[in-house]
Amino acid sequence: MPAGALTEAVMSATFVNFKNVFLAYNDSGDFAVEDISLTTRQGEFIAIVGPSGCGKSTFMKLATGLKAPTRGTVAIDGAPVTGPLKIVGMAFQAPTLLPWRTTLDNVLLPLEIVEPHRGRFRQHRAEYEERALKLLKAVGLDGYAQKFPWQLSGGMQQRASICRALIHEPKMLLLDEPFGALDAFTREELWCILRDLQAAQKFNVILVTHDLREAAFLADTIYVMSRRPGRIVARRENPLPGPRDLELTYTEPFSALVHELREHIGRVRTA
């Protein structure tokens, strides 16, 4: 096989590509993140864990093109990132649903903004509604489409928020501690929903979290970040084959993985 074809094959299989990325928020020279280099395969689910204030959210801004790196390059899906990336959907710890819109209208919101849907939204509303209802059903929210967000529980709101992030069929889903405010049982339930959605639709995921069990359960590859300035101090491929079952979280290999990650965090804190 000629060398050129090989690099091409590798290139096309890469989705996220950070090369020596630095970001400073002002001119002081204090970096929020330092020398981040990582690549992901198409369809890979990665998690970034670390202590709070380690620049995880900064990483998100870089990956979505909302912030440009001070140094280094970011490329997503083979193209250098120069501005906001429409192929991305985002969800946060706060569901940020709009209280004057029904759940259905909240989920449809991105389509009123992002091209090409924006232009055809009015004429094809029924078709888009059907797509939203299907998505709501997939996360267990059928029957709640006409309810307002404040009539839903926290877990339900977060499900709706994930639907909103996925409605325009993004290639990449960015989640910033999306389950952080939920109780343990709801959280595990949503883990499984996210796992199944990703298995079905094969989108790329970057999950930022400080819950190590969450990272170990969901991600194919886990990156550990240091305190500010944030650097990647460890990369761990998940040795447990996915999609994983909830029962697995009570087994020895899973605990060992979580324990290992915890040790990396411990080292980060004392360093």
């Binding site: 979505t64 990336l85 709009l98 919101l109 903004i113 992002v114």
Partner: protein, 255 residues
């Protein structure tokens, strides 16, 4: 039981008013207070009836002048609020100046406005406007400036323009603030009109107050105050109803 309770709550303001009126009348009758000092409710009602025609004319004048000033205040307040609220730079630049302006007594503007516009509706409309646009502007600006950054990120990443964020999220989100400010602004606008009419007009309730006072017709002056209060309260209640209808999502929980 609960039915009776809500009924009682709804009629509470009327009951309180009736109680105040009864005590007021009782004091006036018992101590034989002179009408020139402190007129009794009965005397006020008598002069309300006696001068009904004239009072109605002056009240109408005050009403439309206030509404004109208030309408300008809504337009200017909303536009300024949108401009200031959608840019942190302008927000920090304009806010101290606006606060300083708001601290100025608006009655002090009346002589200046008279020089510019002469005696009549002009100064009254402008005084009503000057006194009432500030709360509207501040509330719109605050509603826009306190937008969650996460929400903005969600939209910006999709390629939303400033205008999209403003129309889809910013403005609907500031509506409860807006209506709350309308209720405050309308009562302030009546204050502005009346103050201006007292020195710079030959019509309106403000003029009526001054001329009744100078001719020692205290019941008539009090009747003028009653009319102003009633108009302001009616408009306040009107905006309350509009507020509840349009932004019910912000008032859930409160029944």
């Amino acid at each position: 039981m609960t039915m009776n309770k809500t009924l009682l709550q709804k009629s509470a303001p009327w009951l309180l008013m009736a109680l105040v009126l009864v005590i007021w009348q009782a004091i006036c009758s018992l101590f034989n207070v002179s009408e020139f000092i402190f007129p009794s409710p009965v005397a006020i009602v008598q002069s309300l009836v006696e001068f009904a025609g004239a009072i109605a004319l002056h009240a109408w004048r005050t009403f439309w002048v206030t509404m004109a000033g208030f309408a300008i205040a809504v337009v200017v307040g909303v536009v300024l609020g949108m401009v200031i609220g959608s840019s942190p730079f302008l927000y920090s630049a304009a806010y101290p100046l606006m606060t300083a302006f708001n601290a100025l007594p608006k009655a002090a503007f009346v002589p200046i406005l008279v020089v510019w516009f002469g005696i009549g509706a002009g100064p009254a409309i402008l005084t009503a406007f000057l006194i009432s646009f500030f709360p509207i502007m501040v509330n719109i600006a605050t509603g826009l400036a306190t937008l969650e950054p996460e929400m903005e990120d969600v939209l910006r990443v999709l390629g939303a323009r400033r205008l999209d964020v403003l129309l889809k999220v910013g403005l609907p989100r500031s509506m409860p603030y807006f209506f709350a400010s309308l209720k405050v602004a309308i009562t302030l606008a009546f204050v502005g009109t009346t103050v201006s009419e007292m020195t710079a007009s030959n019509e309106g309730i403000g003029y009526l107050l001054v001329s009744a006072g100078s001719s020692m017709r205290m019941p008539l002056a009090f009747a003028g105050l009653v009319v102003i209060g009633a108009m302001a309260m009616t408009m306040y209640e009107l905006f309350s109803v509009v507020e509840k209808r349009t932004t019910g999502w912000a008032h859930r929980g409160a029944h």
